[in-house]
Amino acid sequence: MMWWLCIRFPSLMLDSLSLRESTEATAVIERQVVLQANTTAIEQGIQPGHSMATALSLYPELHAVERQTKREKELLEHVAVWAYRFSPQVSIDTELSVIFLEIRGSLKLFRGFNRLFSYLSQGIKKRNLQFYCGLSHNPVASYLISYSDKEPGYYRQSPTKLDNNKIQQQLKSSPVTLLPCSKNVKKNLKSMGLNHISAVFLLPSTSLGKRFGRDFFELIAYLKNEKKEHRPLFFPPEYFHSSCYFTHGLNNKQQLDPYITQLLTELKNHLRLRQLINRQLNWQLNYIDGGSESMLLDTSLHVFQQQSLFDITLLKLEQLKLRANIESLSLSCKRFEKSENHNDNLFQQQDNTFLTGGDSKNEQYSIVMDKLLSRLQSQHCIQLSAHNDLLPEKAWRATQYTDVNTSDPLDRNATPPRPLWLLSKPAVIQQHQQQLYWQGYLQLLQGPERIDNQWWQQRHARDYYIALHSNGSIYWIFKDQIKRQWFVHGLFS
C-alpha cells in the first residue's frame, strides 16, 4: 500500500507575496472578495469571504493586495522540486495549494518515517512557510487528514503499516465542507442534512453517483480506500528557473548578495539531482517600475563551483547601473551538459608547481577565463594558431578562446626568418633623400624573399627584406611590387 503525505499550505497566497508576517493588516483579494488575511487583519475582525466593502468598513487602513496565481504556482513548484529529493512520486495541486508525496518507498532510505518527516518539516520551516501535513493511503484522504490536530505520525500502526481505523475515524468526523468538490455539491450535501463525511459514507454509493456525478462517486471510493487514486505526477522541469521577490524593493546592489547565493544554491541542488552542469547563467533584474535588465553569463566550468559563479556574477553586476528599485531577481538556465564525474585522488599530492598540467589546471583556466570574459569582451581574448599560407598575414589566425583551434603542422621547408612581432597592418614607409624612413632611417641588411601569390584573386607581389633601424631594432619590411611602395610588416624582437 502506498503512503501519501499531504503538505498543505493554508496561507500560500500570503506566503507567495511574503506578506503573512507583515505587521500591517494585509489581505489578499480576488474580484473584490477577501481570500486570505494575515493575523493582524484577522485580529481586526476581517475573515476570508468578506467583501472588500465589509473589510474596509471593519478596518479602513487594510492593505489589500490582488492575488497572484502565477507566483503561487511558482512557489508550489519550487517546493515540489525541493521535495523531489524525498520521493520520486510528487504531485501538486494548485487549487488546494497542496503537495502530495508518496513516501512508502523512501522509508528505508531515510531510515524511518520520523527522520524523513523531521527533514521535510525542517526544510519547509526554513522557507518560512506555514504548512500542515496529513498521511493516508490515498492523496485525497491525506488532504482531509491534514486538517486534523494530530501529527501525521499518529496514523501509523507500525513502522511499515498505517492504522486504517484511526484514518477512517478521522475522515468520518471531518465536515463535508472540506471535501475537494464543487460548491454546488457541497450545498446539496448541506441541504440533505449531511454535515459530516460519516453520514455520506452511510449512503449507498450508486445513488451518490447518480445524484452527484461520477467524480463525487470516485472521491468517496478513494476516501473509503476502495479504489486507488491516480494523480498526475510532477517532474522537475528540464530547465532551471527561480526568483526572489523583494516586497519593498532593493535600492542597493550589495543587498542582492545573499539572494544571489540563495539562487545559486538552488541551482546547485537542481544540477546535482540531474548530474548536469550549466553552460549559462541568465540573471534577470526586474525593476519596480516594470522595466527589467538581464545579464547573460557563459560559463565553461566542468564542475559546479558556486564561489566562482558568485564572483563572476558580482563582476558583471558591478558594471550595471541600477535605474530604479529592484523588485525581483531571477536566475534561469537552459543550456546544460552532462557533468563529468570528477574523482579526487585518495592520496592527494600538493604538486602545484607551474609546469604541471592536468585537470586542476584546466579547471583553474576555466574559472579565470570566465572571470576575465565577464569583464572583457570576448573579442579581447584571442587564441593564436599558425597556418601554412604564403602570405604572411594569412599564415596565422586569431580565434576566440572558446573555439577549438589547431595549428597546421609547420612546413619545415620554409625556413626564411620570420619576425616575432607582426604589425596588425603593414605601415607605409616614407622615402627621405633616397633612404627609407619610418620613425628613423632603415638600412637593408638582407633580402629579398619574394612572395607572389593569389594571382587568381588579388595579386600580391612582395619582396621582403630585413632592415636595420637607426635605433638598433631589426625590422621586417617589404616592397609592394604592385603599389611600388615600401611597408613595415614586423619586428625581429
Binding site: 602545484n352 607551474f354 609546469l355 598540467g357 589546471k361 583553474q364 583556466y365 574559472i367 579565470v368 577565463m369 576575465l372 569583464r375 572583457l376 579581447h380 581574448c381 584571442i382 587564441q383 593564436l384 594558431s385 599558425a386 597556418h387 604572411p392 599564415a395 596565422w396 589566425r397 578562446y401 583551434n405 595549428s407 609547420l410 625556413t415 626568418p417 620570420r418 616575432l420 612581432w421 607582426l422 604589425l423 596588425s424 622615402q431 633616397q434 633612404q435 627609407l436 638600412q443 637593408l444 641588411l445 638582407q446 633580402g447 629579398p448 619582396d463 630585413i466 636595420l468 635605433n471 638598433g472 631594432s473 631589426i474 625590422y475 615600401w486 614586423g490 619586428l491 625581429f492 624582437s493
Partner: protein
C-alpha cells in the same frame, strides 16, 4: 625553529658571495633561461620563479622577446602563456619556428582601467605558467606592482613586465630588473636588481647572426685566395704541413661579412 637548510631555501634570505658560489647549479628558486650568458650573470642561474621580473626596454622590438624564447619553448609544452596588451601581434609562424606552441598562447586586450585587474586575475589563478604584461599606462605608485608580485607568488606563476625605460627611476617590487638596450648587432643588458646578491652586471647578447648578414655590392664580396691546394697532393710530394695548416681561414673576419644571398642584382638601398 627552522633549520639552517630551511633558512637557506628561503628566497628572502640574502647570502654572501662565498656561500653562493658553491651552488652554481640552477637553484630551486629559479628556472634556467636557456641562454648560458644570461644564466651566468644571474646569481640564481635563471629567472626567479613565482615572482615578477621587469624588463625595461628602450623601445619594443630590440630583441626582448628572444630573451624569453627558450623559456617559452620549454613552458608551452605543458603550461599556458598569457600575453596582456602586447604592442604587436606575436607572430605564430615565428613562435612555432622557435618551438613555442601558439595554441598555448592567449592574448588579452583589456582596457586601460582593467589591465591591472586582468593581470592580477591571470597571475592569481595559477592557470597560466607565464604572464607577460605590457601596460599601456604606467602606474604612478608601486602598489599595483606589489599586488602583481604577491599574485605571482600566490599563483606560482612567472610574471614578466615589459616597461619603458622612463620607469627606471621608479622603485619596483619586482625581484629582477633588467635594462635592455641595443648596441651594434647586440642586445645590451644591465641588471638593475636581482635576487641573491649584488646587481650592476653589464653584458651583451649577440643578435642571431642569420638576421645580420649584410648585403654587399658584388665587388666587396669576400674572396678567399688559396695559394695552396685545398688537399694534400701525394704524388707531388707535398709536405705534411699542408694538412696541419688550414687551407681556408678558420673564421670569417668581422669586416668581411659572409654573403648570404648569391643574387647580387638586388640593391642595398632602394632606387
Amino acid at each position: 625553529m627552522p633549520s639552517v637548510e630551511q633558512l637557506i631555501q628561503d628566497s628572502r634570505l640574502w647570502r654572501g658571495k662565498h656561500y653562493r658560489d658553491e651552488h652554481s647549479q640552477p637553484s630551486k628558486n629559479s628556472i634556467s633561461s636557456g641562454i648560458a650568458q644570461l644564466d651566468q650573470q644571474l646569481h640564481w642561474r635563471g629567472w626567479p620563479l613565482h615572482s615578477s621580473s621587469e624588463l625595461l626596454c628602450e623601445h619594443w622590438g630590440i630583441g626582448e622577446l628572444s630573451l624569453l624564447m627558450p623559456l617559452l619553448k620549454q613552458v608551452s609544452l605543458k603550461g599556458r602563456i598569457a600575453w596582456i596588451n602586447p604592442p604587436f601581434i606575436p607572430y605564430p609562424p615565428a613562435l612555432s619556428a622557435q618551438g613555442v606552441i601558439p595554441e598555448q598562447c592567449l592574448l588579452l586586450y583589456p582596457s586601460k582601467p582593467d589591465q591591472w585587474w586582468a593581470a592580477e586575475q591571470a597571475l592569481n589563478s595559477s592557470a597560466f605558467a607565464i604572464v607577460m604584461t605590457w601596460f599601456t599606462q604606467q602606474a604612478s605608485h608601486a602598489t599595483p606592482y606589489r599586488r602583481l608580485q604577491a599574485a605571482a607568488e600566490k599563483g606560482h606563476c612567472l610574471h614578466f613586465n615589459f616597461c619603458p625605460l622612463q620607469s627606471k627611476q621608479q622603485s619596483s617590487p619586482a625581484r629582477l630588473r633588467m635594462q635592455l638596450s641595443t648596441s651594434v648587432s647586440q642586445l645590451a643588458i644591465e641588471v638593475l636588481k636581482q635576487p641573491g646578491g649584488w646587481a650592476g652586471q653589464r653584458f651583451a647578447i649577440p643578435r642571431p647572426e642569420s638576421l645580420l648578414f649584410k648585403q654587399q655590392p658584388v665587388q666587396q664580396w669576400p674572396v678567399y685566395h688559396s695559394t695552396r691546394p685545398s688537399y694534400p697532393v701525394i704524388n707531388d710530394k707535398v709536405s705534411c704541413s699542408a694538412i696541419t695548416d688550414p687551407p681556408y681561414p678558420d673564421k670569417l673576419r668581422e669586416d668581411q661579412p659572409f654573403i648570404h644571398q648569391t643574387d647580387s642584382n638586388y640593391p642595398t638601398q632602394p632606387h
